[in-house]
Each structure stands twice: as structure tokens, then as C-alpha cells.
């Protein structure tokens, strides 16, 4: 299994951070992975300026990779501005998982990112280009 299921991935899967739904919230979005039909929703609370994330939660059922990726990604969001969120690089989301992700599981790793981009742009975002994410690797 090429070390995909390292302990910390499984820990995030069993007890994901930022899991559930925030109510009230300022932004909400839901999207799905067409390969498996997994659905994920995300709610965000913003500060008074409505430009900075103060809280985030994601919900839905999915595989270990999609759940761990959303769990790890959402840990980073508090304090970020919406512009910073919109400029997040999907390569870093994949790299932050710390395990080898191939083409077959890339959508799993990026489902949380895609839902988040939908939430901060208001429209369903495209899947990041596979070749870009897999071949160029993480940006520093």
C-alpha cells in the first residue's frame, strides 16, 4: 500500500479536526467527487470585516484520504484572509498529506480544497489540472 495509510492519516480519518457544521455561518458550499460519489460540505465564519476566516468546519462521509486532507487543510485556515484562501495552491494541500498521492486518488486528496474554493468564490470550482499537481510538486 506504499505507506499511504500512515498512522497520522488514520488518526485524522477516525477523529477529523474541524468536523461538523457551523451555524450561523457566513459561507457554505457543498461539492462531490464524481469517481465515488462522496459528498462534502463546508461552513466558514468570518470576522467583522468579512475578509478573514475565524472558524471552519467540514462535513460528509468519505475515504481516509479525503477526510484526512480536509482535516489537515482546515487546521490551517483560521486567520487567513479570503484572498489568501483563494490563492492557496492545491499542490501544497496534497503535499501536506505527507504521503504519496497518485492520479487514482488525487480527487480524494483535493475534494476538501475544491469545496473550500467553492465556498470562497461562490461558484463550483474546476478540479485542478492533474498534471500540474502531480508533476510539478509542492511550491515553497
Amino acid at each position: 500500500m506504499d505507506n499511504l495509510y500512515r498512522d497520522f492519516i488514520l488518526e485524522h480519518y477516525r477523529a477529523p479536526h474541524n468536523h461538523g457544521a457551523l451555524d450561523p455561518h457566513d459561507l457554505a458550499f457543498a461539492d462531490s467527487n464524481p469517481t465515488c460519489g462522496d459528498e462534502m460540505s463546508m461552513t466558514l465564519v468570518l470576522d467583522a470585516s468579512k475578509q478573514r476566516v475565524t472558524d471552519v468546519a467540514f462535513d460528509g462521509r468519505g475515504c481516509a484520504i479525503s477526510q484526512a486532507s480536509a482535516s489537515i487543510m482546515t487546521d490551517e485556515l483560521r486567520g487567513m484572509t479570503l484572498d489568501e484562501v483563494r490563492e492557496m495552491d492545491p499542490r501544497n494541500v496534497v503535499a501536506n498529506l505527507g504521503v504519496p498521492i497518485g492520479a487514482a486518488r488525487l480527487k480524494c486528496a483535493l475534494l476538501g480544497y475544491k469545496v473550500l474554493q467553492g465556498a470562497v468564490t461562490g461558484v463550483t470550482s474546476r478540479w485542478p489540472d492533474e498534471a500540474d499537481v502531480l508533476q510539478k510538486g509542492p511550491v515553497s
Binding site: M1, Y5, G37, G62
Partner: protein
Amino acid sequence: MVTAHVQPGVFDGAALRADFPVFDRPHRTGRPLSFLDSAASSQKPRAVIDAVADSYAHHYANVHRGIYELSEDATHRFEAARDALARFIGAPSAREVIFVRNATEAINLVAYSWGRTNLRAGDLILATEMEHHANLVPWQQLAAATGASIEYVAITDDGHLDFDDLRARLARGPRLLAVTHVSNALGTINPIVEITRMAHEAGALVLLDAAQSVPHMPVDVAALDVDFAVLSGHKMLGPSGIGALWGRRDLLDAMPPFMTGGNMITRVTLDGADWNEVPWKFEAGTPAIAEAAGLAAAIDYLEGIGMATVRAHERFLFEHAWAALSDMPGIRFLGPDDSDEHAGVISFVVDGVHPHDVATILDGEGVAVRAGHHCAQPVMLRYDVPATTRASFSVYNDLDDIVRLTDAIRVTQRTFGTA
């Protein structure tokens, strides 16, 4: 004389694997490959690969065109493939067999050509909840285009079509029933003879999705008494890019072309065209010539084993796999548990582990399975699962594959600490 007990009708899948070059390819783990995803697409025997290469090397020219030896040779072989397929599926005439890309295209052909000609606003189309998306979406589109409505026959908790529901919906007078022979997501074998009798009594035509049955059991479209049947070559040990529609001659004759262009005409002027006869009326443009040769070789290979033997072999594997998985904790099945009603397709859920994770861990053990909704999202919704893991069998599988499958599921459960 002492005779070893041999399971009736079952052959040595491992010996047969020698015919399939893919099994010589080393898996990255160094383990043998257990290929359990034949319901998605099957592997190809050397005979099929050679037939495709031989077509290009020695028999290739465009068909139905050239007045020269090579073209006549190519045309003869292409039409011989049609004859072979007609015989294989019990079609009364090879003229009723139309080559298309795959079962999906065949269904679209009927939906566009028959459907848009014959359906009116207020007409009813009947499909079932267990259909592949290929046997749902074209009918939904047809309904939207014509103003017809579409309803779906329900499935029971144990994975059968609900006959009470079928009876009730047939009483509403649908024009057509689109039904699968074998469910790719549940493994259910539907009792088509009975379903067709009921549908015809109600005045409905029957389109049979035979993509999952023709590769795995004897199928005779005349005996089943359906009106249309569709299949894909790539699921029956043949090449991708070729499939077929079989249809009753009177229906095909009355249908307008689906796609238009060369080959499907008899005469073209700048004002219009006259259509060729069936089947060529429906075969616009240059067809899959080498693939037809490969398909004929696949049919020859399957007939060499015998379809009743293929079915017995896969039934034997199904029974062993079902029993072995039933003995394990934390496994839930979809579909009927009776092997009379279940093809060599096992759809299951490992409690606490998403099917994608199951498939990834199984891949690490050399076991190739499908994980997902199997292009049958309504089935997933019906059983309230986002996805399942699916193991499906073909002639090259044997009991070792089932041992590797169950061992790999145990690895999965250990990894996730669920059993």
C-alpha cells in the same frame, strides 16, 4: 478406476491464464496479479491480440468500398465477424446485428432513432432502479426531448427487481422497458423471459442491456424474446471500440438512421440521400475493422470453452467467494445470496473503511477490484451507501484469487483497526 472429484463444469482458471499475456506483466509488489475487475473491462487472450494485429498486417483495407482483393478480403472478414456474433447471441439473422462502439452507443442509437420517431408527449418509458447510467441517461434525455415521462421499477432489499412494482408500472402502458440482464452493481441475474412476457402483454417493447451477461453465460436473444439487445466487445475478452446492437428486423427497418454519412446511404444528391439497408443504414463512416476481427476471435475463444462452462466456472467462484467473505466479520453484501440469481459479481462494503481505501490497500496486495458507484448511483442511493467495493470474475480467475482477496481484506481491516 478412481476418478478425482472435479467440480462439474469447472476448469482450471490458472492454466487458462497462460493464454492472457497481461498476467506475465510483473506487479510492482512482486505478487501475482489477481484481476477481479472484469465487469469493468476484461483482459484479452493472445488469440484476440493476434487477430487484431493480423487484421492490420495482412487483411487491412476499408470495407464495403474497394473493388480489389484486399478490400474484398477485409469486407468478408468484417461480415464474418457479424455472422459470428449473430450466431453467438442467437440472433435470427446477422442483418439484425449492428456494429457500434459499445453498449452505450447502442442504447443511444435506439433512444435517438426509435425513441424520437415513436414517442410522444404523455408516453411512458420504463427503466429500473438497477440500471447502469448508460441505460438511464439516454432515456432521461429522450423523455426530456419528447415530453414522455420515465419511471423506474423498484428493487427489493435483497437485490431483486420488485415484481409487484413492475406489474403495477406495466399496467400504466409504457412504450418500452429498458432492463439489464445482469446488474453490474449488484450481480443480480434478472429473469428476462418472464419480464419480457409481462412487458409484451402490456404492449411494451423490451431493450435488454446484455453487456454483463453475454460475456459470462449463454445468451439467446430469440429465446429471451426481447426486442433490442446491446453489448460491448471489451467486456467479453474482445477489443475496446466495438460493440453491438441487435434489434428485431421489422423495428430496425422502420427506424431512421442515427448517424449519417458514408456507407449508410445508397444514393446521395445535393438534395438528399436514400438510406442503405440494415444493418449498414446504422453504420455511418469507416467502422472498427480490426476490432471486429478481434471480437470474432474472442467469440471463438469463449465458444472453445463453452458458455455453459464459463457460467458454471464463475458460479463456482461466486459461491466460494460469497462463503469466504460471509465468514469474515464486518462485511456487508449487496445483491441476492442465491447463486442461481447471481452472476460472478460481488459488491460489498467493509464496515468502517471507505471502498476507495479498500481498493488502494487491495492494490498493494496485487488484487485489482473496482471501488465506487459503478456508474449506478441510484443503486448506491437505494442501499444508502456512497460506494461499494466490487470483485468480478472471468474465465482466468480461480480459487487462489479468492484467497488473495480475503487475505487482502484482512490486511485492510488490520490497517484500519476495524476487525
